[in-house]
């Protein structure tokens, strides 16, 4: 048993990190109609780069390089592999399947490199904790909340205030009308992929930090938990992805914190909880929490 406040803080931290990944899913889906199944291996790629570079560059330098490199990899993936041939929204399904192939290739190579190791990312928080009244919380969790909040706010500001954000939202509503206004669809799309890649690399840091033991080859599978979060939110809605992620994070933390009370559900129900929540929400709102009109894309 842990206190409710502990669980809430943990859930918030988890949800914040899921939100980084879920926003990546959403921004890619909005821009290209593609569901990027390679998001998990992009995350692992970013984490791996941070892990191997932090000795030489320091944590901040390694993270900066990893974020940039992952953004470039994601952008290149879209531009060179997916955007081949005529631009055609009907190709989104095919491209989605291509991302599964990319995921397998990337994951296989990274798994070979990582092997059974647990890699440290060299983050500055270590295993230190702070005690606030009755609550003890890891520094890394607080950092996850703070950094994610800043990153998420930055992404929302990009959507709202930049020409790219306006182009993205316009193109998501009506590709041809946006093209007629002079929106460069392929560039808008590629930048969306870059953003998703950068967010994934950032998320990797907090998924590998304490209390997790480090980066392992299965860390990328965490992205699969952000997937129900994105779907919960309606898939094309950034606020929806944020709400869905927090819901998933809190659920997971609460279920894990009360594991002993929930043993009728079996061991490890915390891992299944995100999907259970997704199914429950979709039963009530088939288009997701914020998906009333956004889901009409494709």
């Amino acid at each position: 048993m842990t206190s409710l406040l502990d669980d809430l803080l943990n859930g918030l931290a988890l949800g914040a990190v899921y939100a980084l990944v879920a926003l990546g899913f959403v921004v890619i889906f909005k821009a290209s109609g593609v569901i990027n199944f390679a998001q998990g291996s992009l995350l692992l790629f970013g984490g791996y780069l941070t892990a191997v570079l932090h000795d030489d560059l320091g944590f901040a330098g390694a993270l900066a390089v990893a974020v940039l490199a992952t953004a470039l990899l994601a952008g290149a993936l879209d531009r060179l592999l997916l955007q081949r041939g005529e631009p055609d929204p009907r190709m989104a399904h095919v491209q989605t399947i291509v991302t599964i192939g990319v995921d397998i290739v990337l994951l296989t190579d990274l798994s070979r490199r990582i092997g059974g190791d647990l890699l440290s990312l060299g983050d500055p928080w270590g295993d230190s904790v702070v005690t606030l009244g009755s609550v003890t919380v890891a520094d890394s969790r607080l950092a996850a909340i703070a950094v994610s909040a800043v990153a998420i706010a930055a992404v929302f500001a990009l959507f709202r205030f930049t020409p790219w954000g306006l182009s993205l939202r316009a193109a998501a509503e009506d590709t041809e009308a946006a093209a007629l206004m002079g929106v460069r669809l392929s560039r808008v799309r590629m930048l969306a992929w870059c953003l998703a890649g950068a967010l994934a690399a950032l998320a990797a840091v907090f998924l590998a930090a304490f209390p997790a033991p480090g980066l392992e080859r299965t860390t990328g599978q965490i992205a699969l938990k952000a997937f129900p979060a994105a779907i919960l939110g309606g898939m094309a809605s950034p606020p929806g992805a944020l709400a869905g992620s927090l819901l998933i994070g809190l659920t997971e933390a609460l279920v894990a914190g009360h594991q002993s009370d929930l043993h009728v559900l079996g061991e490890g129900f915390g891992d299944v909880a995100p999907y259970a929540v997704m199914v429950l929400v979709l039963l009530v709102r088939p288009t997701g929490l914020f998906g009333a009109k956004g889901a009409a894309r494709v």
Partner: protein, 258 residues
């Protein structure tokens, strides 16, 4: 851009244009027409005649429909527009208002207007504000609803927004695809007035319409497109008097019956 001297405004030349969809379906054959600077040219024809296809060939959106120019040329002044992307057309000053309005329903009126300048190279906020003021002068109704979602506007207001959005890019040639479609007669008159005013301010117009009465009243010159080929061309007033046009497009059954 605004600093271009008005006397050197280019003309649109479409020369012997053939367009094919999916490498098989021929949509336009040997179509030629010219829109002089500051002129209004109407393109009439039934559904499926190829009117929209011609606009797509000019605005560079054929590719989005798996269409391609297989012969002929599209020039705007010295700029070749065939096979270019829509950005090239917008930068050259040729902007299309799509059929069915196609405003971005989930974006606000103000955001819709801002999308109108997205194709242009970096613009100062003052230039954007100036363009917006011009649109609001033309459509005061939009000025009252800047924060409203475009999807909540009436059909007529959406058409105004679609035209206003295109005007944000400072077009020298406006391509209008069926602006009267689905509008009440009063609103059609209102849109016609607006097109007249836009033209009076120096913007050339290529007007695609099924509403031939409206189109011929606005245009200097008109062409009739039938199954992908130009059948009739001439000054609008003259075309309006020909039997074929009266019968087929102006709904006049008395005179052509013999």
């Amino acid at each position: 851009m605004p600093e271009a001297p008005p006397d050197e405004r280019p003309a649109l030349h479409v020369e012997h244009l053939d367009v094919t969809y999916g490498r098989a379906l021929s949509a336009l054959r040997d179509v030629s027409l010219t829109v002089p600077p500051g002129g209004v040219v109407a393109l009439l024809g039934a559904n499926g005649a190829g009117k929209t296809t011609l606009l797509r060939a000019v605005s560079g959106t054929l590719r989005l429909h798996r269409g391609a120019i297989t012969a002929g040329r599209v020039r705007y002044g010295d700029t070749s527009l065939d096979g270019r992307d829509p950005v090239a057309a917008v930068r050259a000053g040729v902007v299309q208002v799509p059929e069915g309005r196609r405003v971005f329903a989930g974006l606000t009126v103000d955001e819709n207007l801002r999308t109108g300048g997205l194709g242009l190279a970096r613009r100062k906020p003052s230039q954007v504000a100036e363009a917006r003021d011009r649109v609001f002068a033309l459509f005061p109704r939009l000025a009252e609803r800047t924060r409203q979602a475009a999807g909540l506007l009436s059909g007529g207001e959406q058409q105004m927004l679609a035209i206003g959005r295109a005007l944000m890019a400072h077009p020298r040639l406006l391509l209008l695809d069926e602006p009267s479609l689905g509008l009440a007669p009063l609103m059609v008159d209102r849109i016609a007035d607006v097109v007249r005013e836009i033209n009076a301010q120096g913007t050339a117009v290529l007007l695609v319409e099924q509403n031939a009465g409206m189109a011929l009243s606005l245009a200097d010159h008109a062409h009739v497109l039938e199954v992908g080929e130009i059948r009739l061309s001439g000054p609008a007033a003259e075309l309006a008097r020909t039997d074929a046009v009266r019968r087929l497009y102006l709904g006049d059954t008395t005179e052509g019956a013999a």
